[in-house]
Subunit: 367 residues, 4 copies
């Protein structure tokens, strides 16, 4: 059991989640490395100090460079806006410090490429924080597909849909501008990561991106509300991706359905402790989609609870992520999803954007 | 209460369904016109005679021309293969007899066009048998959309998925060839009809059609297993259609989800007595998708049962269809979906086929 | 194919259902006996004539004795109030005519006993109309239990809950009085029949019956709103029954859950085309309740539709019942549920009533 | 922000859960008191040392008396077997230390009574660890009932069902003996607590308790596998409780349904982030049970995540509990559920046991 000093840049939504995960992970997973909340950075000294006191960090700073440079900060978590990702990663890698970066990684695929190159050159642990793929259910889905339970796969439908912008009369200025804050920049990466994790690389895309509400109150909206893409995987299967921030009634609709000749799987993050599975080998009169409740038999469940069906939640995904990051640091193994995956997602985002512009199929390999 | 002699061409799956509907409809809906199973036609005298005895027709014939020409046959139902639709309709309209035709109407959009023109010229009742849109739940969905319950609509996802061909080791020769027997020809028309009924005309499509299994046992497969299309409606909204005969685990997956700024709707034919509805006006802490069970308050339910939640089934949709056909005959009103709708579906099918060939967006109006 | 003249007494809710079933059954099930709607009886000549015209009977009468005595009426369906059941059955059996009687059979267990004795003496087809147990799903449940799929059964929970009386401000005078119109008299028999059909005879009961709303508008309520009973089956298993007419939100809540050491089953009539099944032999990490959609593999489904998942509805249960009644007439076989079952249900009702009075366990064999 | 030293007695299932909750609670809830894992006690020095290292305690001991007496242990959590509860609580209260005790509290209602008296005399924070009632969904259910959303309540059905003992061929010696390890002792208290929390005190019970499998491998089973109880609440409503450890297929079946004249609620811990609600005021043709996904609007959700539908899990309930215990310590307020509630649950358990013996209704007030 060795202590490790954690520095987190950003104290908002995800900064808090990472902080809470880092304090819990040692007890939950009984990790070898035990995180210590060493320092939090924010955009001002004051707000950083507030985060420090709220979450229990030892120190705080209004300048992320101070945090990265501090010798007691031994690992860095980037939970600040996308425009800062590249510079922070560069600074951390220069000092040989491991980095976990919030998704999507960097502002563009070019930045993601640089970050990936830097990570490779530094040779230290690097991870991009696609948390949803880490639920016991989604990990089990990956395992079943890898084990051939679905046989030859025909199709995947995957979506990430929420409704926080469904009402044009409610709005925030920052939501209305910047590709990174649009649906393709913000929500779609999660489901692109899911599609890749489940099905392998995406070869080509044919997409439509749109702004449903051009005006929201006094603001002109310059980023997108929803998008869809027909996709072709390198493995040959066809798929469809959809993302929306105007999907009324959907709160955390990270969902997928996959069919193969031997079986099928369905998952919806809104019921994250269930994985639905159809086994084509079941007798015809007794076959049906079964709701597998997650339990100790499923990946990364047991440390949270010995009882099946008791369930894990959002924060637990971040704890699993923290465990993996610590393990990557400890062992030197590259643990999925590394910056490489973050880059591949960004390249797919770029292909989707180009496809929408050209109204044609685009190869991801061109981006 | 007046009797009307019904002639049905085809005694298989749908022929039987129409026969059973015609005997029941008078009692269920207490219609003015009361059908009498006058004659059934099949591809041979023998099989026709078997259908006659099995279903209770007065007479039978191995030649559909005899049936159409018989003076006691006052209305004709076409439940034979698509290649016969045009000729039968032509003969019936020539004698001024009302026609209900199974979907999809005719082999091609050209045939569908001819049939529509002939129907118009004849000026008699004509209807295409899109039965699924007639469930009390789907009728209610249309009513709610028309009433503005969903507000401005953002997106529809609609699919018709089954799995009768999911296993490449099970096959039938006839299923492997002929566009009409592929998924685009056979299943997709239902969901195209649904999308149109709910959302209005489709302006343009961008599609992928594919044969997943090129070989099934000794047969080379020349028609399609699954297809998807991004669509744009004339009203402006975006959508996605999917159809598959290899969707393992799905049995009668005629399903749609529609979101608008005021609400959302979900439906799946596998639970045909439920309509899920999210009302965005509900208080935030008490909002959620509600499962509306069909009951006497919903269209065409009460004649089947006074009790809510008691439910209707597949055969009941055909009875509702029979009721509408009789009403069209009685009143002279054009009752949805007429041949015109059958034609529009076929044009959309043609546009999807062209889009797949050209890998580009196609306007439905060009077909 | 032989015609048989059907006489139905009562033209309301169930009278119409039986009429519609009798016109459809020949085509759907391709029965040997083909029913002809010969005569309907009601409480007045006028209302009977209205039913005749509405449903398509040949003749009508205001006096059920005329119907029973008519030589062209070859089988009698009793769909009139419970107080008339005994006299009608007596008259029909005296003439050697088969009888199907609506549930519950007779006003009391004493009347049910007389009816059962008369049926036995007459030696003709007799059946009590417990329709819900006839869905393909519930038939499949019975079949699975009989096949040992659940192993040793531990427990059943069964309920029949609706909400047509949940609001004390809505009421009808006739609903407020008469045991037969209370929940124990009206709804509970269905679920007692279900429990017996699935689990075998009930040995003893311990029950609470209660009137939740003593006043409804101007009326004093003298019958019951809800009841529960702990039960012990002759086979040894324990169970619980619940019935309510004030179960807000429940429309057709005829539902049961059964657990055994090898498996478990769940069913809810509100989703009547699904049977949920847990197979304890499934691998622990892939086990879960599966939703078996009814299809051609399940009892009495195929005649309605060749496609799985297309679903049957309320009226189809009555058609299945009609088919069984015709078969009982044709073959002389006793087809479940006969009057004997109707009697056993009534004895269980009597035991529940006595248990509530004495606040103690009662043996059904004492009633 | 003040540190507080936590001592936990027991390092198994619940001991770990409390440890993990105590390390996380400060960051998640930003509490004033910040727990420090000071000492863990187990049945031997060795096992205690293992727990210390695994969970991150500062110190450990094989003797709980050492832990209780240690001045740096400022609050005690009892997660050891029921037979130790009374002695530990006595020792802690004697030193004026706050105590949180695992459920059920003490071996018998007599012990629970003593513990409650001691807590009262000590005048310090005391809490019994009924965690399931603390989910955001169940807290919301309580809030809605208190707000009158259901109107006059007619009925509650509540159950706690699992299947860890469903197979008589799998067994552990300790599970087979001791009332505390039977279903009434182990699982039923949770659902009794739920019923009381939602509906108020239980006035009387009529129950059946049974051992389904008398033998499990080499062991004779002397405690119970399942039980049911009809109950009457002091408020007048009727209810039913069921608990089972042989409920095949159920993993965490802590579930309830409550109906009133204005609405109804349904909950199942296996889908702990959903609360189903039927609002009788909805228009008849648009009414249905809605699935309310928990979100920031619901009690104790926001600290875990700003996004609705992202969900909380099992461990989060323990964190909520930890927050409440710290608040009780800090403010001196009695926070539900105190030892008083633990006692009331135990009295209800005693009444159920007596009812089973006498086969009659028993008043809880007599125990």
């Amino acid at each position: 059991m060795t202590e490790i000093g954690i520095g987190i840049i950003g104290g908002g939504y995800m900064g808090k989640a990472h902080a809470a995960a880092m304090v819990a992970v040692g007890t939950v997973f009984e990790t070898t490395l035990r995180p210590r909340l060493e320092m939090v950075a924010a955009t001002s000294d004051d707000s950083a100090a507030r985060y420090r006191d709220a979450y229990g960090f030892a120190r705080s700073t209004g300048d992320w460079r101070v945090l990265v440079a501090d010798p007691k900060v031994e690992a860095v978590i980037i939970a600040s806006v996308q425009s800062t990702h590249l510079d922070i990663a560069k600074a951390a890698f220069a000092l040989g410090k491991p980095v976990m970066c919030e998704k999507p990684m960097g502002l563009t695929e070019a930045e993601a490429q640089q970050m990936t190159d830097l990570a490779k050159a530094a040779g230290v642990a690097n991870m991009v924080a696609y948390n949803y793929i880490r639920t016991p259910a989604s990990q089990m889905a990956r395992k079943m597909i890898a084990a051939g339970d679905l046989g030859r796969i025909h199709y995947i439908r995957a979506e990430h849909v929420e409704d926080f912008q469904n009402d044009p009369a409610t709005f925030a200025a920052w939501r209305c501008e910047g590709d990174a804050n649009g649906t393709l920049g913000d929500l779609a990466p999660h489901i692109i990561n899911a599609a890749r994790a489940l099905m392998g690389p995406i070869a080509s895309v044919n997409a439509v991106i749109e702004t449903v509400y051009d005006e929201r109150g006094p603001y002109t909206v310059t980023n997108d509300d929803q998008l869809q893409a027909m996709v072709r995987f390198e493995g040959g299967a066809m798929g469809h991706l959809f993302a929306s921030r105007v999907a009324t009634g959907r709160k955390m609709g990270y969902a997928y359905e996959i069919t193969g000749d031997k079986g099928a799987i369905r998952f919806d993050q809104e019921d994250q402790n269930s994985l639905w599975y159809f086994d084509n080998a079941d007798p015809k009169d007794r076959a049906g989609f079964r709701r597998i409740l997650t339990g100790p038999e499923h990946p990364d469940y047991l440390p949270f609870c010995q009882g099946p069906g008791h369930g894990t939640g959002y924060q637990d995904q971040i704890i699993i992520e923290a465990k993996d990051f610590l393990k990557a640091i400890e062992t030197g193994e590259a643990i999925y999803p590394t910056f490489r995956e973050g880059l591949e997602v960004q390249r797919t985002v770029a292909a989707i954007r180009a496809s929408n512009k050209t109204q044609s199929w685009q190869n991801v390999s061109d981006f």
